[in-house]
């Protein structure tokens, strides 16, 4: 399985390492051949001088012709070159030239020179040669690669020709208890076809047929509901989608965050290592407090260090919104949905226990773990409250910064909670975004735009669904013109979508960041950072959560009339129009509709 995937990937441009390895190989090869060719080379130099001009003119032509060259043959020739006698073939001359000049420093000259001078000094030629060498080595690399690709393609095509017929099967054609590996192989085949549809696909089949089959296989292999599989599949290219689904099958590495209120990361790492925990700083150098735990002989959630609040178990992805929020000392901050307190305590630590942090959570039971973590980590600047977050700013407004880590469908944390695969219904993807929109508007209204240091709102979810991410922040931008999106200040992450399946979002939405399990090995996550630029009439909004909900429902109804649910058929009303048009049709034919009726009556 892995090998097949690897093969797929090889067509990507080579990484730096690969490239250098290939280069060094080439150098070795050329050095060996250099000895053999020293005698020949002197001959060649003379020859080349004379033929230089021709070659220069012809080279571009040669390049154009390249794709038509038989690469296998070419490769053999270039290998055998120094064993055989010199051929007058132009292509071979290039190779030779490259080989015997290879000992010289290649880095000297980057510019490609073209000269039409009839007479050239040796220096010029050498210079020129060096240019050519660079170019040629690049070209050879390309050729090598293309040869590889060619071979690979052939292999693939062979495979495909065997399998292309049975890739698309109807449900009834499938074996009853098909082996999962068979399903898997078929999935990968289809992905390959979808990635290169024009050449690999069966011309009689449509793309949607392939996609449909693939989705069914995904449902079967990974155990999603069809609805969710399709929703997630649409976010990615087929290859990436499979990677995403596969990444959801493995759990993310355990990460812990150093509580900087009590200790330093180095000291903590030291004392844990002494207890036999294998760990290292979170790779990527974007967090100064995170540690990644590989294996531990002791329960990592019950060490004396843990109990004394030196660290907290926290997913790497939940560092991100706090880093984006960038709290400053002495500020007033609200965390709207804070349980179990990983982010709240991080904010508190960033502020070094100054200012005040309001930690709110709607669920009273979850506030227990929140309060426990706050006390264990020694955060003295917190107030824990239990409101529907939509009650803000009625409760208290004028915050410098607000973090809204909104409740979500959890499509980014399927690795952690596989129940999501089956439990999420289309209704969830309507209701939850509906709540998220209200929460975000409440957050925006609760921020003080005149704050000297802040005026920041960070919106984050652990979902990758566009309805909960881009659509929500786009909604907020439309409803509250007094906020704008700004750069999150995070070192990693992919740009959010500005358009998705026909929906267009505000251009600045691209400033938000998406995180995927297969790309960064963190949970699927979304972070957007707003700055409030001015006051709005909503700022002293005293309506309660219920009133807001009522208002939002009304708006939703109004919107649905304009948008989608409008064109329903009302049969009773239509009947009237149908009768009317029938009458008109009869009149046109010169028949009096009333007379016809009378006849019927009689």
């Amino acid at each position: 399985m892995g090998s097949r995937q690897l093969k797929n990937r090889q067509r990507d441009p080579p990484s730096l390492d690969e490239f250098q390895a290939r280069k060094s190989n080439k150098n070795k090869k050329s050095k060996r051949s250099n000895k053999e060719s020293t005698e020949e080379s002197s001959k060649h130099k003379k020859q080349k001088k004379s033929s230089h001009k021709d070659k220069e003119i012809e080279e571009p032509v040669e390049e154009e012709n390249l794709p038509e060259v038989d690469y296998d043959k070419l490769a053999k020739e270039s290998k055998a070159l120094f064993d055989d006698d010199i051929e007058e073939d132009l292509q071979d001359e290039f190779d030779l030239e490259q080989e015997y000049e290879n000992d010289e420093d290649e880095d000297n000259n980057n510019q490609i020179q073209w000269s039409d001078d009839e007479e050239m000094s040796d220096n010029d030629i050498e210079k020129l040669n060096m240019d050519n060498i660079e170019k040629l080595s690049a070209k050879l690399d390309k050729q090598d690669q293309e040869i590889q690709e060619e071979a690979e393609m052939e292999l693939q095509e062979q495979n495909l020709q065997e399998k292309i017929t049975d890739v698309l099967l109807n449900d009834d054609e499938l074996e009853e208890n098909e082996d999962l590996t068979t399903t898997r192989t078929r999935m990968l085949e289809i992905v390959k076809i979808l990635e290169n549809f024009s050449t690999l696909a069966d011309p009689t089949k449509s793309r949607s047929q392939y996609t449909e089959r693939l989705l069914k296989d995904i449902v079967k292999y990974f155990g999603y509901t069809e609805f969710l599989a399709e929703k997630l599949f649409q976010l990615f290219s087929p290859t990436e989608a499979i990677e995403f689904f596969e990444a959801n099958e493995v759990s993310r590495p355990v990460t812990i965050r150093t509580n900087t209120l009590k200790t330093k990361r180095r000291d903590l790492a030291q004392s844990l290592v002494n207890k036999g925990v294998n760990l290292q700083p979170i790779p990527g150098n974007w967090s100064k407090t995170g540690l990644q735990v590989f294996e531990s002989g002791i329960p990592i959630g019950a060490t004396p260090e843990y109990l004394s609040g030196q660290y907290i178990l926290q997913a790497a992805s939940s560092f991100l919104p706090c880093i984006a929020l960038d709290p400053q000392e002495g500020e007033r901050i609200l965390d709207m949905a804070s349980a179990p307190g990983g982010k709240t305590t991080y904010i508190s630590a960033m502020m070094k226990n100054t200012g005040v942090v309001f930690a709110n959570d709607f669920n009273a039971k979850r506030t227990k773990s929140l309060i426990a973590n706050i006390h264990r980590l020694g955060c003295t600047n917190t107030i824990v409250c239990n409101y529907d977050a939509r009650e803000f700013p009625k409760v208290i407004g004028g915050f410098d910064r607000i973090l809204l880590d909104a409740p979500c469908t959890g499509t980014g944390v399927i690795g952690k909670d596989p129940n999501v695969k089956l439990n999420r219904t289309p209704k969830d993807f309507m209701d939850i975004p509906h709540l998220q929109k209200q929460l975000l508007l409440s957050a925006i209204d609760s921020v003080d735009c005149n704050s000297k240091t802040g005026g920041v709102i960070v919106y984050s979810t652990c979902s990758v669904a566009v309805e909960e991410d881009e659509a929500v922040i786009d909604y907020a931008l439309r409803k509250r013109p007094n906020v704008k999106l700004v750069d999150t200040g995070l070192a990693i992450g992919k740009e959010a979508f500005t358009s998705y399946r026909g929906k267009k979002f505000h251009q600045s939405v691209s400033l938000a960041r998406r995180y995927y399990p297969h790309a960064y090995n963190v949970d699927g996550f979304f972070v957007a950072k707003f700055v409030k630029t001015g006051p709005s009439k909503f700022d002293d909004n005293k309506s309660s959560a219920k009133e807001k909900e009522f208002q939002a429902q009304k708006e939703l109804e109004a919107e649905s009339i304009i948008n989608d649910d409008f064109a329903e058929f009302d049969d009773e009303e239509d009947e009237h129009y149908i009768k009317k048009s029938k009458k008109e049709a009869l009149k046109k034919k010169g028949i009096n509709p009333k007379s016809g009726k009378k006849k019927e009556d009689k």
């Binding site: 227990k368 309060i371 107030i383 824990v384 409250c385």
Partner: protein, 178 residues
């Protein structure tokens, strides 16, 4: 949320004085106040206490650091959450060896075998703060014997009765916090 009554203040301070003695005056300053919310007593900075007034009583779950709670019979009980306030001000301290850490964190009393060092002149039956050898506070208890007596007892005898330890964060999470 409200201030403590005189009676309540007296009960709380008596309990605190058990562990920190005269150092209690360090707790009482202009910037910090004691607040009662439901049956719990919180020690919190004044600005935060003022902000917390905007939160309705039934919605306010916690503020600052919780010291403990008044039982139904009107007695005051210190919680493990008070440790971070008591530890730096403590009057008597006991340090335990690494092999004694886990037994203590699982809720056992401290045996002489696990004793690393102890403050001089600890009298019998006084509040004492328990540290490990890295000076991390682990809990608090009551000395069962004075420092001098400890020298003469056998290794398996109890020297400190455990009252509270940080293992409670895991064991008693359901009852400890609201």
């Amino acid at each position: 949320m409200r201030q403590l009554t005189e009676d309540e203040t007296q009960k709380v301070f008596e309990k605190l004085a058990n562990y920190i003695g005269k150092n209690i005056k360090n707790l009482i300053n202009k910037d910090h106040v004691f607040r009662l919310q439901k049956d719990r007593v919180y020690y919190v900075s004044k600005t935060i206490a003022n902000f917390a007034t905007s939160i309705a009583r039934e919605n306010l779950m916690s503020l600052g650091i919780c010291l403990g709670k008044f039982t139904k019979t009107g007695k005051f009980r210190l919680h493990i959450t008070a440790l971070q306030i008591l530890a730096p001000l403590s009057k008597y301290k006991v340090w335990i060896k690494p092999n004694g850490e886990m037994p203590f964190l699982y809720g056992n009393h401290i045996l002489k075998a696990h004793l690393s060092k102890i403050s001089d002149n600890v009298p019998e039956h006084v509040g004492i703060i328990v540290f490990n050898e890295k000076d991390i506070p682990l809990g608090f208890g009551v000395s069962s014997k004075s420092t001098n007596e400890i020298k003469n007892v056998d290794p398996t005898s109890i020297i400190v009765f455990r009252q509270s330890d940080i293992g409670e964060y895991l064991r008693d999470e359901d009852t400890l916090f609201a």
